[in-house]
Amino acid sequence: MLPYYAMRQSVPQRRSSAQRLPLELGATARITLALGLIVVLQSVLVRLPHIGFVFEYVDFVLILTVFVGVQPTALRAALVGLTGGLLQDLLWGVLYGASGFTKTLIGYLLAVTSMKFSLDSRITRLLVLSLASVVNTGLFAFFLYFFSSLSSETTFRDVVRIGMLALLGNSLAGLVLFPLGDRWLGKWIAVRSTDEPIAPRAF
Protein backbone atom coordinates (compact mmCIF):
# COMPACT_ATOMS: atom_id res chain seq x y z
CA MET A 1 0.00 0.00 0.00
CA LEU A 2 1.47 3.33 -1.03
CA PRO A 3 1.45 6.22 1.43
CA TYR A 4 -1.05 8.96 0.76
CA TYR A 5 1.47 11.55 -0.49
CA ALA A 6 2.94 9.04 -2.93
CA MET A 7 -0.49 8.24 -4.35
CA ARG A 8 -1.27 11.93 -4.77
CA GLN A 9 1.99 12.52 -6.59
CA SER A 10 1.84 9.47 -8.79
CA VAL A 11 -1.50 10.26 -10.43
CA PRO A 12 -0.66 13.64 -11.98
CA GLN A 13 2.77 12.32 -13.00
CA ARG A 14 1.18 9.51 -14.95
CA ARG A 15 -1.25 11.89 -16.60
CA SER A 16 1.47 14.27 -17.67
CA SER A 17 3.58 11.46 -19.08
CA ALA A 18 0.59 10.21 -21.04
CA GLN A 19 0.08 13.69 -22.44
CA ARG A 20 3.71 13.82 -23.51
CA LEU A 21 3.31 10.76 -25.74
CA PRO A 22 1.80 12.10 -28.94
CA LEU A 23 1.74 9.69 -31.89
CA GLU A 24 4.41 11.40 -33.99
CA LEU A 25 4.91 9.46 -37.19
CA GLY A 26 7.76 10.42 -39.46
CA ALA A 27 7.17 11.60 -43.00
CA THR A 28 8.13 8.24 -44.48
CA ALA A 29 5.79 6.36 -42.14
CA ARG A 30 2.90 8.67 -42.98
CA ILE A 31 3.47 8.36 -46.68
CA THR A 32 3.73 4.57 -46.34
CA LEU A 33 0.43 4.60 -44.46
CA ALA A 34 -1.10 6.78 -47.17
CA LEU A 35 0.22 4.35 -49.79
CA GLY A 36 -1.43 1.39 -48.10
CA LEU A 37 -4.71 3.24 -47.80
CA ILE A 38 -4.80 4.37 -51.42
CA VAL A 39 -3.98 0.87 -52.63
CA VAL A 40 -6.96 -0.42 -50.64
CA LEU A 41 -9.15 2.44 -51.79
CA GLN A 42 -8.32 1.75 -55.43
CA SER A 43 -9.27 -1.92 -55.06
CA VAL A 44 -12.62 -0.89 -53.58
CA LEU A 45 -13.42 2.06 -55.87
CA VAL A 46 -12.98 -0.11 -58.93
CA ARG A 47 -16.05 -2.07 -57.81
CA LEU A 48 -18.37 0.95 -57.78
CA PRO A 49 -21.39 0.41 -60.01
CA HIS A 50 -21.37 2.24 -63.38
CA ILE A 51 -18.23 4.32 -62.71
CA GLY A 52 -15.90 1.72 -61.19
CA PHE A 53 -14.12 0.96 -64.49
CA VAL A 54 -12.84 4.56 -64.57
CA PHE A 55 -10.63 3.84 -61.56
CA GLU A 56 -8.85 1.08 -63.48
CA TYR A 57 -7.18 3.89 -65.39
CA VAL A 58 -6.25 5.95 -62.34
CA ASP A 59 -3.00 4.99 -60.64
CA PHE A 60 -3.09 6.61 -57.21
CA VAL A 61 0.40 5.35 -56.37
CA LEU A 62 1.82 7.02 -59.48
CA ILE A 63 0.08 10.27 -58.56
CA LEU A 64 1.61 10.16 -55.07
CA THR A 65 5.03 9.33 -56.53
CA VAL A 66 4.83 12.33 -58.86
CA PHE A 67 3.57 14.49 -56.00
CA VAL A 68 6.67 13.62 -53.97
CA GLY A 69 8.95 13.47 -57.00
CA VAL A 70 8.45 17.05 -58.12
CA GLN A 71 10.34 18.14 -55.02
CA PRO A 72 14.11 17.74 -54.85
CA THR A 73 14.02 14.77 -52.46
CA ALA A 74 15.46 12.08 -54.69
CA LEU A 75 15.76 9.23 -52.22
CA ARG A 76 12.35 9.82 -50.69
CA ALA A 77 10.66 9.98 -54.09
CA ALA A 78 12.39 6.77 -55.15
CA LEU A 79 11.38 5.04 -51.91
CA VAL A 80 7.75 6.13 -52.24
CA GLY A 81 7.72 4.75 -55.78
CA LEU A 82 9.43 1.58 -54.63
CA THR A 83 7.05 0.93 -51.73
CA GLY A 84 3.88 1.74 -53.64
CA GLY A 85 4.97 -0.15 -56.72
CA LEU A 86 5.87 -3.26 -54.76
CA LEU A 87 2.53 -3.10 -52.93
CA GLN A 88 0.77 -3.08 -56.29
CA ASP A 89 2.97 -5.92 -57.56
CA LEU A 90 2.13 -8.02 -54.52
CA LEU A 91 -1.60 -7.39 -54.94
CA TRP A 92 -1.58 -8.17 -58.67
CA GLY A 93 0.80 -11.09 -58.22
CA VAL A 94 1.81 -11.34 -61.86
CA LEU A 95 5.35 -9.97 -62.06
CA TYR A 96 6.94 -8.87 -58.80
CA GLY A 97 9.08 -5.78 -59.26
CA ALA A 98 7.60 -4.52 -62.56
CA SER A 99 5.53 -1.74 -61.07
CA GLY A 100 8.13 -1.16 -58.33
CA PHE A 101 10.92 -0.68 -60.87
CA THR A 102 8.83 1.67 -63.01
CA LYS A 103 7.74 3.89 -60.16
CA THR A 104 11.15 3.93 -58.44
CA LEU A 105 12.68 5.13 -61.70
CA ILE A 106 9.97 7.74 -62.28
CA GLY A 107 10.22 9.08 -58.72
CA TYR A 108 14.01 9.29 -58.82
CA LEU A 109 14.25 10.86 -62.28
CA LEU A 110 11.61 13.45 -61.42
CA ALA A 111 13.34 14.42 -58.18
CA VAL A 112 16.74 14.67 -59.89
CA THR A 113 15.20 16.81 -62.63
CA SER A 114 13.49 19.01 -60.07
CA MET A 115 16.91 19.87 -58.56
CA LYS A 116 17.71 21.76 -61.74
CA PHE A 117 14.25 22.78 -62.95
CA SER A 118 11.34 23.82 -60.80
CA LEU A 119 8.57 21.29 -61.40
CA ASP A 120 6.57 22.02 -58.27
CA SER A 121 3.91 24.29 -59.73
CA ARG A 122 0.26 23.51 -60.44
CA ILE A 123 0.53 23.42 -64.20
CA THR A 124 3.95 21.76 -64.40
CA ARG A 125 2.91 18.99 -62.04
CA LEU A 126 0.00 18.05 -64.27
CA LEU A 127 2.20 18.01 -67.37
CA VAL A 128 4.79 15.92 -65.53
CA LEU A 129 2.04 13.55 -64.36
CA SER A 130 0.84 13.07 -67.93
CA LEU A 131 4.36 12.28 -69.09
CA ALA A 132 4.93 9.97 -66.11
CA SER A 133 1.66 8.17 -66.86
CA VAL A 134 2.75 7.40 -70.43
CA VAL A 135 6.20 6.25 -69.26
CA ASN A 136 4.61 4.14 -66.51
CA THR A 137 2.26 2.33 -68.90
CA GLY A 138 4.91 1.84 -71.56
CA LEU A 139 7.59 0.55 -69.22
CA PHE A 140 5.18 -1.72 -67.33
CA ALA A 141 3.85 -3.21 -70.57
CA PHE A 142 7.42 -3.67 -71.80
CA PHE A 143 8.37 -5.63 -68.67
CA LEU A 144 5.25 -7.81 -68.97
CA TYR A 145 6.15 -8.47 -72.60
CA PHE A 146 9.86 -8.99 -71.88
CA PHE A 147 9.17 -11.57 -69.19
CA SER A 148 6.35 -13.24 -71.18
CA SER A 149 3.74 -12.21 -68.61
CA LEU A 150 1.64 -10.19 -71.05
CA SER A 151 -1.55 -11.84 -72.24
CA SER A 152 -1.10 -13.32 -75.71
CA GLU A 153 -4.23 -11.47 -76.82
CA THR A 154 -2.77 -8.06 -75.97
CA THR A 155 -1.64 -6.11 -79.02
CA PHE A 156 0.38 -2.92 -79.35
CA ARG A 157 -2.90 -1.16 -80.09
CA ASP A 158 -4.27 -2.33 -76.72
CA VAL A 159 -1.20 -0.95 -74.94
CA VAL A 160 -1.60 2.41 -76.69
CA ARG A 161 -5.31 2.45 -75.83
CA ILE A 162 -4.62 1.68 -72.17
CA GLY A 163 -1.82 4.27 -72.16
CA MET A 164 -4.10 6.98 -73.54
CA LEU A 165 -6.91 6.16 -71.12
CA ALA A 166 -4.44 6.06 -68.21
CA LEU A 167 -3.06 9.44 -69.30
CA LEU A 168 -6.56 10.89 -69.28
CA GLY A 169 -7.57 9.21 -66.01
CA ASN A 170 -4.39 10.13 -64.15
CA SER A 171 -4.42 13.72 -65.41
CA LEU A 172 -8.02 14.26 -64.32
CA ALA A 173 -7.36 12.58 -60.98
CA GLY A 174 -4.22 14.68 -60.53
CA LEU A 175 -6.24 17.82 -61.15
CA VAL A 176 -8.38 16.91 -58.13
CA LEU A 177 -5.83 15.16 -55.93
CA PHE A 178 -2.83 17.49 -56.12
CA PRO A 179 -4.61 20.37 -54.34
CA LEU A 180 -5.85 17.88 -51.74
CA GLY A 181 -2.31 16.55 -51.39
CA ASP A 182 -1.00 20.08 -50.92
CA ARG A 183 -3.45 20.51 -48.10
CA TRP A 184 -3.05 17.18 -46.33
CA LEU A 185 0.40 15.90 -47.23
CA GLY A 186 2.25 19.09 -48.11
CA LYS A 187 3.73 19.74 -44.68
CA TRP A 188 4.80 16.11 -44.31
CA ILE A 189 6.84 15.90 -47.46
CA ALA A 190 8.26 19.43 -47.57
CA VAL A 191 12.04 19.46 -47.69
CA ARG A 192 13.41 20.05 -44.24
CA SER A 193 16.74 21.76 -43.92
CA THR A 194 17.35 20.13 -40.52
CA ASP A 195 17.36 16.62 -41.96
CA GLU A 196 20.63 14.79 -41.88
CA PRO A 197 20.11 11.89 -44.20
CA ILE A 198 22.79 9.98 -46.04
CA ALA A 199 22.73 12.56 -48.82
CA PRO A 200 21.74 15.98 -47.46
CA ARG A 201 21.68 17.73 -50.82
CA ALA A 202 19.70 15.09 -52.62
CA PHE A 203 17.35 13.84 -49.92
Partner: protein, 298 residues
Amino acid sequence: MSGLPPPLQKLDPSRRVALLVGSLLLAQFLLMSLHARARSLGQSLPRTTLITLLQPIQTATDAVVTALVTVWRGYVDLRRVYVDNHRLREENDRLRLALVEREQEALDGRRLRDMLALKQSSPAPTVIANVIGGDGTPWFRQVTLDKGSLDGVQLNAPVVTPQGLVGRVVAVGPTASIVQTIADGQAGLGATLAVSRVNGELRGQNQPLCRLDNVPGLTEVNNGELVLTSGLDGVYPKGLIIGTVETVDRAAGAGVHRIFVRPAAPLERLEEVAVLPPMLRVTITESPRSLPPKSPAK
Protein backbone atom coordinates in the same frame (compact mmCIF):
# COMPACT_ATOMS: atom_id res chain seq x y z
CA MET B 1 27.73 9.78 -42.31
CA SER B 2 30.51 8.08 -40.34
CA GLY B 3 28.60 4.79 -40.43
CA LEU B 4 29.12 4.43 -44.16
CA PRO B 5 32.00 2.38 -45.58
CA PRO B 6 35.06 4.47 -46.58
CA PRO B 7 34.56 4.09 -50.36
CA LEU B 8 31.02 5.46 -50.05
CA GLN B 9 32.18 8.34 -47.83
CA LYS B 10 34.41 9.59 -50.62
CA LEU B 11 31.46 9.77 -53.02
CA ASP B 12 29.43 12.87 -53.66
CA PRO B 13 26.07 12.63 -51.76
CA SER B 14 24.02 12.77 -54.93
CA ARG B 15 26.10 9.92 -56.37
CA ARG B 16 25.52 7.90 -53.21
CA VAL B 17 21.78 8.23 -53.76
CA ALA B 18 22.16 7.39 -57.45
CA LEU B 19 24.13 4.29 -56.46
CA LEU B 20 21.47 3.25 -53.96
CA VAL B 21 18.61 3.80 -56.40
CA GLY B 22 20.55 1.93 -59.08
CA SER B 23 20.98 -0.98 -56.68
CA LEU B 24 17.26 -0.95 -55.90
CA LEU B 25 16.40 -0.98 -59.61
CA LEU B 26 18.81 -3.84 -60.25
CA ALA B 27 17.34 -5.78 -57.32
CA GLN B 28 13.84 -5.33 -58.71
CA PHE B 29 14.94 -6.41 -62.18
CA LEU B 30 16.39 -9.57 -60.65
CA LEU B 31 13.15 -10.04 -58.68
CA MET B 32 11.16 -9.83 -61.93
CA SER B 33 13.47 -12.33 -63.53
CA LEU B 34 13.16 -14.75 -60.60
CA HIS B 35 9.39 -14.40 -60.42
CA ALA B 36 8.95 -14.89 -64.16
CA ARG B 37 11.16 -17.97 -64.02
CA ALA B 38 9.43 -19.43 -60.97
CA ARG B 39 6.02 -19.13 -62.66
CA SER B 40 4.49 -19.17 -59.20
CA LEU B 41 1.50 -17.11 -60.22
CA GLY B 42 -0.27 -15.93 -57.16
CA GLN B 43 0.82 -17.73 -54.04
CA SER B 44 3.80 -16.38 -52.14
CA LEU B 45 4.49 -15.53 -48.51
CA PRO B 46 4.78 -11.73 -48.96
CA ARG B 47 1.58 -11.65 -51.01
CA THR B 48 -0.27 -13.80 -48.50
CA THR B 49 0.91 -11.53 -45.68
CA LEU B 50 -0.14 -8.41 -47.57
CA ILE B 51 -3.64 -9.58 -48.43
CA THR B 52 -4.11 -10.76 -44.84
CA LEU B 53 -3.03 -7.36 -43.51
CA LEU B 54 -5.20 -5.46 -45.97
CA GLN B 55 -8.30 -7.65 -45.58
CA PRO B 56 -9.80 -5.85 -42.53
CA ILE B 57 -9.19 -2.44 -44.08
CA GLN B 58 -10.59 -3.60 -47.41
CA THR B 59 -13.68 -5.03 -45.73
CA ALA B 60 -14.28 -1.84 -43.76
CA THR B 61 -13.68 0.42 -46.76
CA ASP B 62 -15.93 -1.74 -48.92
CA ALA B 63 -18.67 -1.53 -46.30
CA VAL B 64 -18.37 2.27 -46.12
CA VAL B 65 -18.38 2.67 -49.89
CA THR B 66 -21.32 0.28 -50.27
CA ALA B 67 -23.25 2.22 -47.62
CA LEU B 68 -22.52 5.51 -49.38
CA VAL B 69 -23.64 4.06 -52.72
CA THR B 70 -26.83 2.78 -51.10
CA VAL B 71 -27.51 6.19 -49.57
CA TRP B 72 -26.81 7.89 -52.90
CA ARG B 73 -29.15 5.52 -54.72
CA GLY B 74 -31.79 6.19 -52.09
CA TYR B 75 -31.29 9.91 -52.59
CA VAL B 76 -31.64 9.60 -56.34
CA ASP B 77 -34.82 7.59 -55.90
CA LEU B 78 -36.19 10.11 -53.46
CA ARG B 79 -35.52 13.04 -55.75
CA ARG B 80 -38.06 11.72 -58.20
CA VAL B 81 -40.69 11.81 -55.50
CA TYR B 82 -40.30 15.57 -54.95
CA VAL B 83 -42.15 16.38 -58.16
CA ASP B 84 -45.29 14.78 -56.72
CA ASN B 85 -47.92 16.47 -54.67
CA HIS B 86 -46.46 18.31 -51.68
CA ARG B 87 -49.14 17.06 -49.34
CA LEU B 88 -48.35 13.41 -50.09
CA ARG B 89 -44.58 13.75 -50.11
CA GLU B 90 -43.80 12.57 -46.62
CA GLU B 91 -46.01 9.56 -46.86
CA ASN B 92 -44.68 8.83 -50.32
CA ASP B 93 -41.10 9.00 -49.05
CA ARG B 94 -41.84 6.59 -46.27
CA LEU B 95 -43.59 4.14 -48.55
CA ARG B 96 -40.90 4.33 -51.20
CA LEU B 97 -38.15 3.78 -48.67
CA ALA B 98 -40.04 0.82 -47.26
CA LEU B 99 -40.56 -0.53 -50.74
CA VAL B 100 -36.88 -0.14 -51.59
CA GLU B 101 -35.95 -1.92 -48.40
CA ARG B 102 -38.38 -4.75 -49.11
CA GLU B 103 -37.15 -5.09 -52.69
CA GLN B 104 -33.60 -5.10 -51.47
CA GLU B 105 -34.48 -7.72 -48.87
CA ALA B 106 -36.28 -9.78 -51.48
CA LEU B 107 -33.32 -9.55 -53.85
CA ASP B 108 -30.91 -10.43 -51.06
CA GLY B 109 -33.14 -13.33 -50.04
CA ARG B 110 -33.37 -14.61 -53.60
CA ARG B 111 -29.64 -14.33 -54.06
CA LEU B 112 -28.90 -16.04 -50.77
CA ARG B 113 -31.45 -18.75 -51.59
CA ASP B 114 -29.68 -19.37 -54.89
CA MET B 115 -26.33 -19.48 -53.12
CA LEU B 116 -27.73 -21.88 -50.53
CA ALA B 117 -29.12 -24.11 -53.25
CA LEU B 118 -25.77 -24.02 -54.99
CA LYS B 119 -24.00 -24.88 -51.75
CA GLN B 120 -26.35 -27.80 -51.09
CA SER B 121 -25.93 -29.15 -54.61
CA SER B 122 -22.13 -28.79 -54.50
CA PRO B 123 -19.76 -31.28 -52.98
CA ALA B 124 -18.82 -30.32 -49.43
CA PRO B 125 -17.08 -28.30 -48.17
CA THR B 126 -18.23 -25.31 -50.21
CA VAL B 127 -17.35 -21.88 -48.82
CA ILE B 128 -19.56 -18.85 -49.43
CA ALA B 129 -17.52 -15.65 -49.63
CA ASN B 130 -18.05 -11.95 -50.28
CA VAL B 131 -16.08 -10.03 -52.88
CA ILE B 132 -14.36 -7.13 -51.11
CA GLY B 133 -12.03 -5.76 -53.77
CA GLY B 134 -10.91 -5.71 -57.36
CA ASP B 135 -7.39 -5.32 -58.75
CA GLY B 136 -7.86 -1.74 -59.94
CA THR B 137 -5.91 -2.09 -63.18
CA PRO B 138 -6.83 -2.74 -66.82
CA TRP B 139 -4.05 -5.35 -67.14
CA PHE B 140 -5.63 -8.11 -65.07
CA ARG B 141 -9.03 -9.30 -63.87
CA GLN B 142 -8.77 -10.49 -60.26
CA VAL B 143 -10.99 -10.04 -57.22
CA THR B 144 -10.35 -10.35 -53.50
CA LEU B 145 -12.57 -12.51 -51.27
CA ASP B 146 -13.09 -12.11 -47.53
CA LYS B 147 -12.51 -15.81 -46.82
CA GLY B 148 -9.18 -17.60 -46.62
CA SER B 149 -7.52 -20.79 -45.53
CA LEU B 150 -9.03 -20.55 -42.03
CA ASP B 151 -12.46 -20.86 -43.66
CA GLY B 152 -11.41 -23.75 -45.86
CA VAL B 153 -10.47 -21.95 -49.06
CA GLN B 154 -7.69 -23.76 -50.91
CA LEU B 155 -5.37 -22.87 -53.75
CA ASN B 156 -6.73 -23.59 -57.25
CA ALA B 157 -10.27 -24.01 -55.93
CA PRO B 158 -12.92 -23.23 -58.57
CA VAL B 159 -15.13 -20.23 -57.77
CA VAL B 160 -18.72 -20.07 -59.02
CA THR B 161 -21.96 -18.13 -58.71
CA PRO B 162 -25.45 -19.52 -59.32
CA GLN B 163 -25.21 -18.04 -62.83
CA GLY B 164 -21.92 -19.66 -63.79
CA LEU B 165 -18.17 -20.02 -63.40
CA VAL B 166 -16.13 -17.11 -61.99
CA GLY B 167 -12.55 -18.38 -61.91
CA ARG B 168 -10.06 -20.02 -59.59
CA VAL B 169 -8.24 -19.12 -56.40
CA VAL B 170 -4.64 -18.09 -57.11
CA ALA B 171 -3.55 -16.87 -53.67
CA VAL B 172 -4.79 -17.77 -50.20
CA GLY B 173 -4.15 -15.98 -46.96
CA PRO B 174 -5.61 -16.94 -43.59
CA THR B 175 -8.54 -14.53 -43.89
CA ALA B 176 -8.57 -13.48 -47.54
CA SER B 177 -7.92 -14.92 -50.95
CA ILE B 178 -7.48 -13.72 -54.51
CA VAL B 179 -9.42 -15.13 -57.46
CA GLN B 180 -8.27 -14.95 -61.06
CA THR B 181 -11.48 -14.61 -63.07
CA ILE B 182 -11.93 -16.37 -66.41
CA ALA B 183 -11.81 -12.95 -68.11
CA ASP B 184 -8.20 -12.38 -66.93
CA GLY B 185 -5.72 -12.21 -69.80
CA GLN B 186 -3.68 -15.04 -68.30
CA ALA B 187 -6.63 -17.33 -67.53
CA GLY B 188 -7.31 -20.40 -69.61
CA LEU B 189 -9.47 -23.48 -69.18
CA GLY B 190 -10.89 -26.43 -71.04
CA ALA B 191 -14.37 -25.81 -72.45
CA THR B 192 -17.00 -27.85 -74.25
CA LEU B 193 -19.77 -26.63 -76.56
CA ALA B 194 -22.98 -27.98 -75.06
CA VAL B 195 -24.67 -29.02 -78.34
CA SER B 196 -21.84 -30.22 -80.56
CA ARG B 197 -19.79 -31.56 -77.60
CA VAL B 198 -16.59 -30.30 -79.20
CA ASN B 199 -13.79 -29.34 -76.83
CA GLY B 200 -11.79 -26.14 -77.03
CA GLU B 201 -9.67 -23.80 -74.91
CA LEU B 202 -11.29 -20.76 -73.37
CA ARG B 203 -8.98 -17.78 -72.86
CA GLY B 204 -9.56 -14.49 -71.07
CA GLN B 205 -8.79 -11.24 -72.83
CA ASN B 206 -9.12 -8.65 -70.03
CA GLN B 207 -12.38 -7.76 -71.79
CA PRO B 208 -16.03 -8.62 -71.08
CA LEU B 209 -15.89 -11.41 -73.68
CA CYS B 210 -13.65 -14.49 -73.59
CA ARG B 211 -12.29 -16.33 -76.63
CA LEU B 212 -12.85 -20.00 -77.37
CA ASP B 213 -9.93 -21.39 -79.39
CA ASN B 214 -9.24 -24.60 -81.26
CA VAL B 215 -12.78 -25.41 -82.36
CA PRO B 216 -12.53 -26.94 -85.85
CA GLY B 217 -14.13 -25.08 -88.73
CA LEU B 218 -16.26 -28.09 -89.64
CA THR B 219 -18.12 -27.87 -86.32
CA GLU B 220 -21.55 -26.26 -86.41
CA VAL B 221 -21.62 -23.49 -83.79
CA ASN B 222 -24.59 -21.19 -83.22
CA ASN B 223 -24.90 -17.91 -81.39
CA GLY B 224 -26.36 -18.40 -77.93
CA GLU B 225 -25.03 -21.94 -77.58
CA LEU B 226 -24.10 -22.87 -74.04
CA VAL B 227 -20.41 -23.36 -73.17
CA LEU B 228 -19.49 -25.69 -70.29
CA THR B 229 -16.27 -26.69 -68.57
CA SER B 230 -14.74 -29.83 -70.05
CA GLY B 231 -12.88 -30.93 -66.92
CA LEU B 232 -9.80 -31.69 -69.01
CA ASP B 233 -7.69 -28.93 -67.46
CA GLY B 234 -7.56 -30.60 -64.07
CA VAL B 235 -8.69 -27.46 -62.26
CA TYR B 236 -12.40 -27.06 -62.99
CA PRO B 237 -14.89 -29.92 -62.64
CA LYS B 238 -16.76 -30.99 -65.75
CA GLY B 239 -20.13 -29.47 -66.62
CA LEU B 240 -20.01 -26.04 -64.95
CA ILE B 241 -21.69 -23.30 -66.99
CA ILE B 242 -19.14 -20.85 -68.40
CA GLY B 243 -21.38 -18.74 -70.63
CA THR B 244 -22.95 -18.52 -74.06
CA VAL B 245 -21.54 -18.04 -77.54
CA GLU B 246 -21.80 -14.35 -78.40
CA THR B 247 -20.32 -14.22 -81.90
CA VAL B 248 -18.69 -16.69 -84.28
CA ASP B 249 -16.21 -15.76 -86.99
CA ARG B 250 -16.62 -18.89 -89.06
CA ALA B 251 -13.62 -20.56 -90.57
CA ALA B 252 -13.65 -22.38 -93.86
CA GLY B 253 -12.57 -25.98 -94.26
CA ALA B 254 -9.69 -27.04 -92.05
CA GLY B 255 -9.41 -23.69 -90.23
CA VAL B 256 -10.63 -23.01 -86.72
CA HIS B 257 -13.57 -20.87 -85.68
CA ARG B 258 -12.99 -17.61 -83.84
CA ILE B 259 -15.62 -17.80 -81.12
CA PHE B 260 -16.36 -15.18 -78.48
CA VAL B 261 -18.11 -16.24 -75.30
CA ARG B 262 -19.98 -14.03 -72.87
CA PRO B 263 -19.45 -15.31 -69.29
CA ALA B 264 -22.69 -16.21 -67.55
CA ALA B 265 -21.48 -14.94 -64.16
CA PRO B 266 -21.62 -11.16 -63.68
CA LEU B 267 -17.84 -10.77 -63.44
CA GLU B 268 -17.96 -6.97 -63.33
CA ARG B 269 -20.34 -6.80 -60.38
CA LEU B 270 -19.72 -9.83 -58.22
CA GLU B 271 -21.01 -9.78 -54.66
CA GLU B 272 -21.19 -13.31 -53.24
CA VAL B 273 -19.48 -16.33 -54.67
CA ALA B 274 -19.13 -20.00 -53.76
CA VAL B 275 -15.67 -21.53 -53.50
CA LEU B 276 -15.76 -25.22 -54.41
CA PRO B 277 -13.19 -27.71 -53.15
CA PRO B 278 -10.28 -28.06 -55.57
CA MET B 279 -10.16 -31.06 -57.87
CA LEU B 280 -7.82 -33.92 -57.08
CA ARG B 281 -4.51 -32.95 -58.53
CA VAL B 282 -1.89 -35.37 -59.74
CA THR B 283 1.66 -34.21 -59.18
CA ILE B 284 3.92 -35.34 -61.99
CA THR B 285 7.54 -35.66 -60.99
CA GLU B 286 10.46 -36.13 -63.31
CA SER B 287 10.97 -39.76 -64.18
CA PRO B 288 14.41 -41.09 -63.39
CA ARG B 289 16.12 -40.88 -66.77
CA SER B 290 19.51 -42.32 -66.01
CA LEU B 291 18.42 -45.62 -64.53
CA PRO B 292 20.07 -48.37 -66.53
CA PRO B 293 17.82 -51.17 -67.70
CA LYS B 294 18.04 -54.27 -65.62
CA SER B 295 20.21 -56.87 -67.17
CA PRO B 296 18.37 -60.11 -67.88
CA ALA B 297 19.08 -62.88 -65.45
CA LYS B 298 21.53 -65.34 -66.82
